[in-house]
Each structure stands twice: as C-alpha cells, then as structure tokens.
C-alpha cells in the first residue's frame, strides 16, 4: 500500500472514528428502540454477506469482515 493511499484512507478513517467517538451520548436501555430495529441490524447483513462471500470466494482473493457478535439492544 502506498504512503499516499495510507494517508488518504486510513488517517481520515482513524480521525473519523475519533470524531465519532466524541459525539457519544450515554444511551439508556429505553432509548434503544431505533437500534433494535431490524433495518439497523449488523447480524442480518453479516449473514447475507457470508452467503455472498461463499460465491465470491471463487471470484475475489479476499474474504472476511463479517466477524463479531453482540451489541445494540441492552436488553437484559
């Protein structure tokens, strides 16, 4: 990866993340209705991406980026 790409992509990405983190609110469980909506789900996307990856694995050189679990509802 060239220094130019590194500067143009990863540094703004890290800055964006830092910036996003500054705007955080302490979100209480009863405020999470939108986060629990199915159109906000990471997991549904991960399943669809995993199915697509199986087919694209035969067409592209890299796989991954679908790992992880949890987060969102804060329901006990």
């Amino acid at each position: 990866m060239t220094m130019r790409i590194r500067t143009r992509v990863l540094v703004p990405l890290a800055l964006l993340l830092t910036f996003a983190a500054q705007g955080c609110a302490h979100v209480r469980p009863y405020q999470r209705e939108h986060l629990a909506d199915r159109i906000m789900s990471f997991e549904t996307d991960a399943k669809a991406a995993a199915r697509r990856t199986k087919s694209l694995d035969a067409r592209e050189g890299s796989t991954g980026g679908n790992g992880g679990a949890g987060g969102g509802c804060a329901c006990n």
């Binding site: 302490h26 209705e33 509802c73 329901c75």
Partner: protein, 186 residues
C-alpha cells in the same frame, strides 16, 4: 511500517479510543432509592391501551407487579405472556400485574397486546415518561409493590432474575394479610 501493521494499529487505536470514551463518560446516576421510586410511581398518570387513565396510588390495598417493557425488546416479548398468566393467577389473591410500555408509538404496544391476546392492564407511557423519570437501567424492569404501595422487590441491577422469582415474590406478598386501618396508622 507495513500497510498491514498500520491498519492493525489504526484499528487497535480506534478500539482503545472507543473504550476510553465509554469509560470516561459521566457515569449514569445512581439508582433511585426505593422510597423515591415508590413516590414517583404512585402519582404518575398512566394511559391504558383500553382508553382509561389510572394512577398506581389507586391500586393500594393490592399487591401490584409493575413491568416496564417494549415491543421491540426481545426478552420483554418473551416474558409478557408469562406475566399475563401470572396476572390471571394473582387475580384470585387480590393482586394484579400492570405493564407499562415504553414504545415510542402506542400502536406498536397495542399490536403486540392484540397479537398475543393479553388481558392484563397495559398502559402506554413512552420512552420519555416514567421510565426516564426513574432512569431505569434495564429493560424489562420489574418491581413488586406491596399493599401500601412500597417497592418490596425490584429487578434493579440484577440480570439473573426470572419471571419465576418475581412470581414467588408477588405470591408471598399477596399471601401476607392486609393491615387493618388501626394497624396501618400505628
């Protein structure tokens, strides 16, 4: 520095920043004392899904199981039918369940109640009503009020409670005889 190492470093730094940010946020207010909770609950006007307005103060003399729930909350959806069964059983003991929905839209709570044929008293109060006043840290959140309206049991910060635990507490309280008017004023 190789690009892979840089990417890993960028992500690790980001995770660290996110974690530190979460830790550095102002801690949520301490849980209200039960007495304060009881006072706030007693006087709050609740609008039921069948069009009535009630105050829990009016139910003094009964043991009342109060459950804060939402139709979008998976554990709530699982427990509501169980609380409806408990309500039917408690009715014979002079006790009842009151479920308070914190859904943003009343229609969502109403649809859930209709779909599951729930018969207990269900009120809609939204996310900015009593639940915000009490600043409850869990959902569902359940408390059991004794006949005097005091909070005798609440799920508090516990995550290992069960409907069975709450049912036992409610039954025990409802088996406790009500105080006579003389005893109540001592």
């Amino acid at each position: 520095m190789s690009s892979a190492r840089f990417a890993r470093l960028a992500v690790l730094v980001s995770v660290l920043l996110l974690t530190l940010q979460a830790a550095a946020e102002k801690a949520p207010p301490a849980r209200l004392e039960r007495d304060r909770m009881a006072t706030l609950i007693a006087d709050h006007k609740l609008s039921t899904l069948d069009g009535r307005t009630i105050r829990l103060r009016e139910l003094r003399g009964k043991v009342v199981v109060v459950i804060f729930w939402a139709s979008w909350c998976a554990p709530c959806r699982r427990e509501m039918p169980e609380f409806d069964h408990l309500n039917t059983e408690l009715a014979t003991r002079g006790a009842q369940v009151v479920a308070i929905s914190v859904d943003a839209k009343r229609a969502n709570a109403l649809q859930f109640v209709k779909q599951h044929g729930l018969r207990m008293v269900v009120a809609h109060d939204g996310p900015q009503g009593l639940v915000e006043e009490l600043d409850l840290g869990l959902l569902p959140y359940t408390m059991v009020l004794d006949r005097q309206g005091a909070v005798a049991f609440d799920t508090g910060a516990r995550r290992d409670y069960s409907v069975a635990t709450i049912s036992t507490a409610a039954r025990q309280l409802s088996d406790t005889p009500a105080l006579s008017s003389e005893e109540g004023t001592r």
